[in-house]
């Protein structure tokens, strides 16, 4: 029998895939080869945007380095805190359900709204944080000192997204087999040894997945920076996505912004593949 007509059933899926994935990528590539801005249309300028990006735009690369620092720091902290919290409510403790829901609340709030609230907290003359710190006669410049502004962004990001890490890791912990833990208990392993030699290795595949998912998300950090600092003071908290946003939607250099987006996409695909491989090698030795 000829089952060629079965391919007809693939069309809807294929159509959606082309519409929402393939077409935008092709359009971005085409856009990146144009000088589309407020005074030019979708003309063709070859690799001019890419040449400009690689030879004459240190701000993009500075923002990329800053992004790498912020992503790695926030995801590491989210992993450590998320794992600790998940481990805590994995065991039978009092108010276990309450804590599980409580730890998820930050993730369920709207990031922009929460960042506005954080900005109010950290406001240096009107915010409650500095009001409290006045007791110790200190008034940190949370949003106007280049170093502290980075730390503030990290704090907000960690607060917002640790629950996501917590959720994934808790799901992982709940799915672990019981036998290795029983064996460790029979052998008289201490809680620390149990964690190092049983829990952590068993959680490695889930940890890698969680870290990669969060790294992908963290590398797109935009709303927190936009609301909290607008990339300032100076350019000290400007990340790649925020810089692309400025060039594309503030300055309307759509062609150039597209070239940055495409370059950024390639860099992210390569670096995340490398990170995944390195993590796998480190955590899944056996």
């Amino acid at each position: 029998m000829n089952f060629k007509h079965k391919y007809v059933f693939l069309f809807p899926g294929l159509f959606v895939l082309i519409g929402i994935l393939i077409f935008p990528i092709i359009f971005v590539v085409r856009l990146s080869l144009s000088g589309w801005n407020s005074y030019n249309g979708l003309n063709f300028i070859g690799l001019e945007n890419y040449i400009r990006l690689f030879t004459d735009d240190p701000r993009f690369w500075e923002s990329f380095i800053r992004l790498s620092f912020l992503s790695v720091t926030t995801v590491t902290l989210q992993y450590v805190i998320g794992f600790a919290l998940a481990h805590m409510v994995w065991k039978e403790i009092k108010f276990q359900r309450f804590f599980r829901v409580l730890f998820l609340i930050p993730m369920m709030t709207t990031p922009v709204i929460m960042t506005v609230i954080w900005r109010t907290f950290f406001h240096e003359s009107l915010g409650p944080v500095n009001d409290l710190l006045q007791i110790f006669d200190v008034a940190p410049k949370w949003l106007t000192d280049p170093t502290l502004a980075k730390i503030t962004v990290i704090i907000v990001e960690v607060w917002q997204w640790t629950p996501f890490m917590f959720l994934l890791l808790l799901a992982g912990l709940l799915s672990l087999p019981k036998e290795p833990f029983l064996a460790a208990a029979i052998d008289g392993a201490s809680p620390i040894r149990k964690f190092i030699y049983v829990t952590f290795p068993l959680m490695a595949p889930i940890s890698i997945g969680a870290i990669i998912i969060r790294l992908i998300e963290a590398s797109k950090i935009m709303d927190t920076v936009y609301v909290l600092t607008s990339g300032g003071p100076g350019t000290s908290t400007e990340t790649s996505s925020f810089y692309i946003f400025i060039k594309g939607l503030r300055e309307f250099q759509m062609g150039y912004a597209a070239s940055m987006s495409f370059t950024y996409l390639i860099i992210m695909i390569i670096s995340l593949t490398v990170i995944a491989k390195v993590l796998t090698k480190l955590l899944l030795k056996d």
Binding site: T144, P146, S230, G231, G232, S236, R250, F252
Partner: protein
């Protein structure tokens, strides 16, 4: 006796009719205009109520609430009630207004009949906007618009943006401190200098520094020197230009403030601008904590709330300070932007050691009707109604509406004394400050060339790096100049030159 009675009844009728807070049929329905009632004109409530737009829809993209977004929505509601039209208002953050209109414009679409933006968008938007029809140019309301604001709304003689707001930067100060004899004595004793309204940026800095970080108004809270828009990408470039005009706009060297029109070489890193940026970096020491991250809203809240001695930028902070609910109502004053004891002469390459002051007729809210709109007449009627006499006077009294004087009749101090309860001397100094800016022959207008956002964004980035201490003022402005040269090259030197020439004509008083 009969004559006396007739005279008395005529007088009473007259008082009732011309009383400032009278009730007419329109103010009964629309309490927003209760202070004046309807004011006759081509787009008054009476005239607009004669139109019938039932079954038609007007789509408007405007700024977020409250600044300009609130009056847009309010007047849309009133317009709908009067004409039967359906008016859809979309609110958009300031930073996205340009792109929200520009993306569909570029794609040949027109999802909005009316688009709000800033007056310096004019060159990028004008090809997509319908020129204001003659009928509206001849209205009583339009004839009252100042020459400067007709210029700001027009491109080479054609008006594309309907005037609804007028903007300029000027100095606001705490009158209860600067004019206070005790404070003057104390300041003199401590510094050896006179405490007065500063006429130079150096004086401004000295006074702001002196009054920074202590409770000088006895309210139990610390006060600070100055509130300024310093947040990157949040209109900070306009604040920088306000500080630059005194040092860099030389009336003896016509032919361009931002560029040398002949060569299109940027002036932005010349010693005049560098001196202004050096002052601004110094200002980070006398702004409130977090002041380096202040956007316009913060500046309005800070000065309007009585936190600082000085402020300069648009009217809003001053109007907020003069509102009935303000703790400093009638304790604030206005004056022209400070000047400088020297001004850079880009022709001789030396400082001219002469006092210089230059008003900055900065861009403001602007609005246009899309060329592709199918309801252009209704759209223009709405805009004409927005800025009719009654609405305009009522809007002026509300600080966070963002509507500022742009009509000659706005310079009558009685308007503020009678309808807003301002002290007479404050109202007089306010209107004089505005009027003098109109008369000045050394004005600076906003940059309105193609791709203007690339230029202003470069200024914001460079100056914010200097304020954050990442670069010295000279290094920061050299970086801006380099970026400006690259933008001019990308856009095309002759194209930018052609656009810029229109602005220079206005600055050189030739238009």
């Amino acid at each position: 006796m009969k004559i006396i009675k007739t005279c008395l009844s005529a007088m009473i009728s007259g008082v009732l009719i011309f009383s400032p807070a009278f009730a007419d049929k329109w103010s009964d329905q629309f309490p927003h205009i209760k202070a004046t009632g309807d004011i006759s004109g081509d787009c008054s409530y009476e005239e607009i109520s004669k139109k019938n737009y039932k079954g038609k829809t007007l789509k408007i993209n405007t700024h977020a609430v409250p600044v300009i977004g609130q009056p847009t929505a309010l007047h849309a509601e009133q317009f709908a009630k009067l004409t039967g039209a359906t008016v859809d208002v979309t609110h958009t953050p300031a930073g996205d207004l340009y792109a929200k209109a520009m993306v569909p414009f570029k794609a040949g679409q027109s999802p909005y009949d009316i688009v709000f933006g800033f007056s310096n968008f004019i060159n990028d938007w004008r090809q997509y906007l319908a020129p204001v029809p003659k009928k509206y140019m001849n209205t009583k309301e339009m004839k009252d618009v100042t020459k400067s604001h007709v210029g700001v709304s027009s491109w080479d003689g054609t008006m594309y943006q309907y005037p609804v707001d007028g903007d300029r930067h000027y100095l606001k100060y705490r009158k209860d401190v600067i004019d206070n004899p005790e404070m003057q004595k104390k300041y003199k004793a401590d510094t050896g200098k006179e405490l007065k309204v500063p006429t130079t940026w150096k004086e401004y800095g000295e006074m702001a520094k002196y009054f920074n970080g202590w409770d000088w108004d006895g309210d139990g809270e610390k006060e600070y020197g100055s509130a300024e828009v310093m947040k990157k990408d949040d209109l900070m470039f306009a604040a920088f230009f306000s500080r630059s005009v005194a040092y860099a706009k030389n009336p003896r060297t016509p032919g361009g403030f931002f560029f040398d029109l002949e060569t299109m070489k940027p002036n932005i890193n010349n010693p005049g601008f560098v001196e202004a940026l050096t002052d601004w970096v110094e200002a980070t020491k006398y702004v409130p904590p977090g002041g380096i991250n202040f956007g316009l809203g913060d500046e309005i809240g800070s000065f309007g709330g009585g936190q600082t001695l000085f402020s300069f930028s648009w009217d809003d902070a001053f109007i907020a300070a003069m509102q009935d609910d303000s703790p400093i109502k009638n304790k604030v004053g206005t004056a022209p932007l400070p000047g400088a004891d020297k001004v850079w002469n880009r022709v001789s390459g030396k400082w001219d050691n002469k006092y210089n002051q230059a008003p900055y007729i900065v861009w403001g809210w602007a609005v246009g009707v899309a060329k592709k709109s199918k309801v252009q007449e209704m759209a223009f009627d709405y805009l004409c109604f927005f800025s009719n006499g009654a609405n305009h006077q009522a809007d002026l009294a509300i600080g966070n509406f963002g509507v500022n004087p742009f009509k000659n009749s706005d310079f009558d101090p009685n308007l503020y004394i009678d309808t807003m309860g301002w002290d007479a001397d404050i109202a007089k100094s306010y209107t004089k400050t505005l009027k003098d800016m109109e008369k000045s022959k050394n004005r600076v207008f906003p940059l309105r060339v193609r791709g203007v956002f690339e230029f202003t964004s470069a200024v914001a980035t460079g100056t914010s790096k200097a304020l954050a201490g990442q670069l010295s003022p000279q290094e920061a402005l050299d970086e801006v100049a380099k970026e400006w040269e690259a933008i001019v090259k990308r856009v095309g030197k002759s194209a930018v030159q052609e656009d810029y020439a229109v602005g220079v004509k206005m600055e050189d008083n030739k238009l």
